[in-house]
């Protein structure tokens, strides 16, 4: 992107926490240590941040303007320049990236969090559907994905065994990730022996729900090089949206992900690994094809969102997982993906690179 006239912007620090359920602490109580760690890792305070952006959802918290209580954790006195998206934190990162591109700031702080355990996520997610014809039916979020999975299987693009292979690999990779929730290895045959939960999806095809969040510092150009040994540059980033109505989409592909990948420059060079926000095994199968990822690309070395799905942070955490891997030298170029909405409706794709 250096020739494009855009500024070089990098991730320079990251902190995360994911657990099956966080019951004792409020959102701000469990976010404060993560916010402090991400800033302390690069020796910055809140007052050093040119901009702060966060992602979360009132529908998970069950409270209007719930994000306001969490801003307290940043230490926003004297007043800070701040914004919030009712979206996964990956979109907060995108807003911060745009703000950094404007050129008047060199650092940004991005955090996101979600606690699904207080409510029924399968019901809460029904509220994101079309409010006139679909949401009033309270379609179970897993059932919606099950219908899409059935269409995908019948298209012949993927088999149940291939989905089980994705689930098995996620469990295997997650075994070494302390932030993953589903970390018990299971063979393909063991997974195929599971009873259907949302036919044709089995429990291992469905994300392990998690509570938690993450915090991250972004910096531009030389400021990024001052702050850490190996900044991880965002070389390309783009996000696109498919139609909201499921009935008008081809659910066996993700056109918006394909376009975002082209715009982000995924095909311009060799990719070492990909961190895909694929909550379901079917999402991963569709994304690998849409993003044009070859057999040589390691997919979701962290275990991915299947192994720990913190709503509103799972996409953002993909950026963080890729940052940590590249920063410690386990790869030089990665594809990162984040999604929102039912059946991969909204997709963000980025290419990250170490120096």
């Amino acid at each position: 992107m250096r020739d494009s006239g855009l500024r070089d912007i990098a991730i320079v620090s990251f902190a995360q926490r994911q657990e099956a359920a966080i019951r004792d602490e409020s959102e701000v109580e469990f976010m404060v240590p993560l916010m402090a760690q991400a800033k302390a890792d690069v020796g910055l305070t809140q007052q050093d941040m040119g901009f702060t952006c966060s992602g979360s959802s009132d529908f998970l918290a069950g409270q209007a303007f719930s994000f306001v209580a969490t801003i307290d954790g940043t230490g926003p006195v004297p007043p800070i320049s701040e914004s919030h998206v009712e979206q996964d934190g990956a979109w907060a990162l995108y807003e911060a990236w745009v703000k950094l591109q404007c050129g008047d700031i060199d650092t940004a702080f991005v955090y996101s969090y979600g606690r699904s355990s207080p409510g029924s996520l399968r019901d809460v997610l029904a509220t994101q559907m079309d409010p006139y014809y679909v949401a009033p039916l309270w379609p179970d979020a897993f059932a919606i994905e099950g219908i899409a999975a059935r269409i995908l299987l019948e298209s012949g693009k993927v088999s149940e065994r291939q989905l089980a292979e994705i689930a098995s690999r996620s469990r295997e990779n997650a075994a070494s990730n302390p932030n993953a929730v589903r970390r018990t290895p299971k063979s393909v045959d063991e997974i195929l022996a599971e009873a259907y939960l949302a036919d044709p999806l089995r429990p291992s095809d469905i994300p392990a729900s998690a509570d938690g969040g993450c915090a991250m510092v972004l910096a531009a150009g030389d400021r990024a090089r001052e702050l850490c040994d190996r900044p991880v540059w965002i070389r390309g980033i783009d996000h696109r949206i498919d139609a909201h109505t499921l009935g008008v989409r081809d659910l066996t592909t993700a056109m918006s992900a394909r376009i975002a990948a082209e715009k982000a420059g995924v095909g311009n060079d060799k990719i070492d690994f990909a961190e895909l926000h694929a909550p379901f095994t079917t999402s991963e199968a569709v994304l690998i094809e849409a993003l044009g990822l070859g057999d040589d690309v390691v997919i979701n070395p962290s275990g991915g969102a299947l192994a720990a799905h913190t709503m509103m942070a799972a996409g953002h955490i993909r950026f963080g997982e890729a940052f940590e891997r590249i920063a410690r030298g386990d790869g030089d170029r990665a594809v990162v993906h984040a999604t929102a909405g039912p059946v991969l409706q909204q997709n963000m794709v980025a290419v990250l690179e170490g120096d």
Partner: protein, 196 residues
């Protein structure tokens, strides 16, 4: 430049002037004018460590705040974090159930969702003794017109056998009869925390 009708932004789009026809099979069905799609989602709310301590204190008629270890400010109700320093607060810090009215408002229209509130009533921003920030409460057992900035108040608690782990244990705040607190400069109201 004068607008022709088609360019006039306030004119109806041409498409709306076309007569709408429906298939014969549903010609006699009543038109749908509107839909109601009620939404109800239930949550098991957990308020966090600091607020849990506060709510347990309420059952004992205690007001348990927390203190910022960096600035010394005392926050009530406690949220577990200092919104000034961005660090965890420490506690509990027990506060008396007395304070004064920093600011108030008299409401003269009823609220449908709060039938028990009979207008006129006085809701106030109450600064507890020892606290750095105020919070909302009702001033009761006084004519609303008699409330002043600086009126000293004390909590009126529910009867002991009705106490719950809830802030609703405080029915309201009544005047203590002590002399008013002097507020020399109204510009400082709500800024006690910053002044410390």
């Amino acid at each position: 430049m004068a607008y022709t009708k088609s360019q006039d932004p306030s004119s109806r789009p041409a498409g709306l002037d076309v007569a709408v026809t429906v298939p014969d099979s549903i010609a006699n069905v009543e038109r749908v004018q509107s839909v109601r799609t009620p939404i109800r989602i239930e949550y098991t709310y957990t308020p966090g460590k600091a607020l849990s301590t506060y709510l347990r204190g309420m059952k004992e008629k205690k007001i348990l705040a927390e203190r910022c270890p960096q600035t010394g400010q005392v926050f009530v109700p406690p949220r577990g974090v200092s919104p000034v320093a961005g660090i965890p607060t420490e506690g509990p810090v027990e506060l008396p159930d007395t304070g004064y009215v920093e600011s108030f408002n008299i409401t003269r229209v009823p609220i449908a969702s709060r039938p028990e509130l009979e207008p006129p009533y006085c809701s106030a921003w109450i600064l507890l003794d020892g606290a750095s920030v105020g919070f909302m409460g009702l001033v009761i057992n006084i004519e609303p017109e008699s409330v002043k900035l600086g009126t000293r108040v004390r909590a009126v608690w529910k009867p002991d056998d009705e106490l719950e782990m809830s802030a609703t244990n405080v029915l309201g705040w009544e005047p203590t009869g002590e002399p008013d607190v002097d507020i020399p400069d109204i510009e400082t109201i709500g800024q006690k925390g910053e002044l410390e």
